[in-house]
Symmetry: D3
Subunit: 249 residues, 6 copies
């Protein structure tokens, strides 16, 4: 069974490989994992505009993966950009967004969760994501460490210290589970260190998303086509490919 | 004071002109209105994927309009695709999404509202939009007439009959206000006819969006930059233009 | 097109004229504005009891205005006292309450709002108003500056300082928009000064209410009679006037 | 211990006496009950305007009762008009509104409740009352039998038949408890008959309100003055009586 | 009319008698009160496991009381353990849980309430209880004094001081009513002392539960059997007694 | 890695073996599965009382499994009876309740879900479970097929027909995912047949619970001890074993 992890922005091959190796450590032996990255997209995602920019190219990778018979795909951004669109465009492949998965996992492990996000610029989108996931009554707070995504890994200890500092704040807010709101935080592998300091579960969105995708793909738990219809123009046969949905005057 | 109405898909000039003329009828004499359309985009928007497809080109028109000193912009799709992104990218221009505006207007006019949308494929996005607007406790139901966007105007009487038929259903659901969930419904000018048949307010998203934009623009009621931050890479000066946010490997 | 602004308490003519002049500055040239005040009512409104006291006389002014063919009316109190009753008693005139309008405007401009109110005695009513508007999921907090309504204008700088002080507190609470919860705060014209200090939109309930009323009145967006029925005794013809609804034994 | 039941509209003495006798049957032997009625007010309450009309005179009876040392007061209308105001104006007397009491009682007896109200014109106010009580998540539906208040008792069997008919509808809606949304329904003593037909609890707002008031008054469970502040002008001594809160220019 | 107060854990006779005497002080003269205790159960209840442990024996006392013709029963734990089960097993006896009763009473007396509980270990269950009661929109916060149940009475003054200290915190959180979340706090009779210090109502769950049970029992306000069905095996006659519901392989 | 599936009621060995075999089909090759059943408990669970009856014996099996080093446990009842208690009593073993897991899985696969439960007697508990899971805003409806648990397997085709019939009803209610609310429905393996008829995902609680437990156990995603504290008497060392928590007088 094959799972692809689709990075919705260009990423250098070394880092992509490093992430692939981590993902492989997390899955069961029989699960094959491959990281795929778009060639054109945002350098990192710290705004809704960058989220949207990432979608057209990522959609192509998703559709391609399904055609190849890939069983499941993880969308590699904790804002879940385009998740509903990718589900509209596919039918047989499980696709999971780590934002929603991370928050549901928190509720399955605890009672009330907070999110630690990268920048103040992503706070509003966390609220919107919580509402989209339907989890407002379990949500305590969101706080930003204000370290740009591309700087998170430059000083792992500094980042960890900030995450612990803000983790303590959300515990005071009342959280009993913490969700990391960024994939680069996930691949920094700080969750375990944070747990030691904070004494509560810290959800790594990369790890939990690949596990949930693996679990669902293994039993063909794909998405509801009544919730995520095939775009009518494709369903009706008026349009034959993704590309034709984009027209010019 | 100038307001632009930005159509997020290509539209033939005649229809664009027709819509512009209607919009001009709705505003105050001192308000200038111009319809602008992207040259590349989805033919119509009936899926989340088409919503996302429309964003990159529309963003450019929005940023351009602000640079020209335009006071307000209406986003010409009732799904409000990219609204948060356009607000991130601008600061001094009021931008309104007719989806959110229509629903808030319904709550300001009545007590409980339903949405009539085009296709079953847009029902999930209506729920998400209601939650994003924070109006779940005032929301009764959404029903689709299942007429494709591009067919709505082909048989105005047929469309009106369907809208009245489904309008009666949502009244039975308990609504006391009805929101039309598609701009092409708005420019078909059926709301008044529906009101006569149904006896409750029927919100035309095009009309109410231009009025709200006009009202807010007139008093400089722009959006909160604390809610919609400028993308950090632009704010920090690392990136000089929209185009540079998109990179290739 | 004529809009009346109805003050639900007695007000000296000079202050009423001052307010009328401000309102005139805010509307479009073609909109006529007139301030009307009851002759008997509460000196100011800082309690629910005073809200209720204001209703019978204000109702008469509302009904009278509709009879005259006035297009829209603003209820001049941010607690929206009697709004539903005035809508029951009218049909063709737009009537807006600045409390609800201000909160919906905040949600249209930002993501999460707080209210600054006058006294601790009005805090419970703000919660009730938020629930009535259906906006609990967008509401962050309410804080009172504890300056009586009639003292707000006595020391404009002192009032502004307090509002900025409490504005900072609600920003810490997480708000990205602030709503002023009192018309006298609105006519003090402090919102712009607050915005400069606080960096987020500050909604002036007087300004936004007149603009929304003007916008809705211009397109005949009156209220739903299914939500706000004519009182049955009037609808059935058993009672011919407002006064007859009040009987004595 | 004395409880007063305050009718917020004029009522003929015979009917007032009949109600007093019923109330006396429901209380414990040591509890004294007296029905008091305003001399001027609405003939019946079927609209928000009539609710508001009832408040000024009722407030005087409430304040007077507290001065006499009455232990508790029931507000005799299921819309709870003015309840918050009466609590602002008193401190030592328990005051209960049968609307809120009835709905909380339903939740204490079952899991999900519906309300049967008199007229379509009171449906919106039931939603508002549910929200004010904080019970939206337990609320199933509201339906109106559309019999005017003053006609309810004219044909007891006809009214009962209608209530059973609509009771069956709300059971289909999913309710497991039914709340009668009108005091005249309560004093018609139909709840027990309805229970026999419907097999679920039917809350008589008159009966449960007097019992809850009696229970709370017996242990001095008055209202929170932090929730219902004394009007500042009275608290500060600037105004000496209720009447002085109403001023004329 | 007889009310039993059922302690769901073993309690020494002296303390049971002391509690019975207090309960007798709170009821009307014609109400008979008896405290009954299980002989086997948890020593105190500070965890969900202990809640569940208490249920089988308590169920027997409840069923027995109904058979004797007892009119009402108070479940003697503020976590309301097994309340729904006891209601399934009975039909004619009012059974109240002080957890739900206390929270509804708070909402009937004020606008927004907080809970003071014994230990951090009961915080999650307070959230669940609030949701089960349907009162999340009226709930402000829960705080634990972290004094074990069995130590509460060892140092009444120390306990009171802690409760006042945490009471001040929840007032800052925004509460205008406080609910004591433990019966042993109730029987310590600290609520009145707390009210003097804090100026807001402090709900004694023991006192309000016996009063509500007394009030409801007096008018036969039992629970909805549509909400709390008799277990099908008993309803169908396949099982003749409680004991037979427990089978062994 | 070993997962136990704990049946909280006595079950004959043949059926237990059959279920174990199905569970083994669903997991990855490296995962060991063992079904364990209590020897004393309810014959089936169709009421809250039976839920509670199952807890004391099941708790022992859970604690024992953790001591053995089992990685994860599935609680074999879709009402999740005692889940919070088992989490209080353990620390290193993942424990999942299929009720909550099934509902979260539905939200991860679709947008709005309904539950099909066995009997009317379990409807209230489904509402409570939805609220406990925090998923009310994604919940559409619950309907009971009214086939006793122990009869579900007697006529597989009849049961399937009923489930399809009620499945159609919940699709009309608006659901786009269906959750089976009973483990015996899960082990009947009807979900796939239902999906073919209904065209939407049908969640098998047994299958999804074992997969989620397997996934979480594989990465040590245990529960939050801040949400589910060890019972204080055990944490403080006052009590050495589960049995000692139960005392007699």
């Amino acid at each position: 069974m094959k799972i692809v992890y689709v990075v919705p922005g260009p990423m250098d091959n070394k880092e992509a490989k490093r992430r692939e190796n981590l993902l492989k450590e997390w899955v069961f032996p029989s699960t094959e994992v491959e990281v795929r990255t778009v060639t054109t997209g945002p350098a990192s995602i710290e705004s809704m505009y960058e989220e949207y920019l990432s979608i057209p190219e990522t959609a192509k990778l998703m559709v391609e993966a399904e055609r190849e018979g890939v069983a499941g795909a993880v969308l590699g951004c904790a804002g879940d950009p385009g998740l509903d669109a990718y589900r509209e465009l596919t039918k047989d492949m499980v696709i999971m967004g780590p934002g929603a998965v991370g928050m549901h996992a928190a509720v399955l492990r605890g009672s009330r969760f907070s999110v630690l996000t990268v920048m103040d610029s992503t706070i509003t989108s966390v609220y919107d994501l919580v509402d989209k996931a339907g989890l407002r009554s379990k949500f305590v707070s969101v706080r930003a460490v204000n370290i740009p995504v591309l700087d998170l890994a430059k000083d792992r200890e500094g980042t960890l210290a900030k995450l612990v500092e803000y983790g303590k704040k959300v515990l005071e807010d009342g959280a009993d589970c913490i969700v990391l709101g960024c994939m680069s935080m996930g691949f920094l592998e700080v969750a375990e260190d944070m747990e030691k300091e904070l004494g509560v579960p810290v959800i790594n969105p990369a790890k939990v998303a690949i596990k949930m995708t693996e679990a669902f793909a293994h039993i063909n738990y794909t998405h509801s086509k009544k919730a995520f219809h095939t775009p009518p123009k494709i369903a009706n046969g008026k349009v034959k490919s993704l590309d034709e949905l984009l027209v010019s005057k």
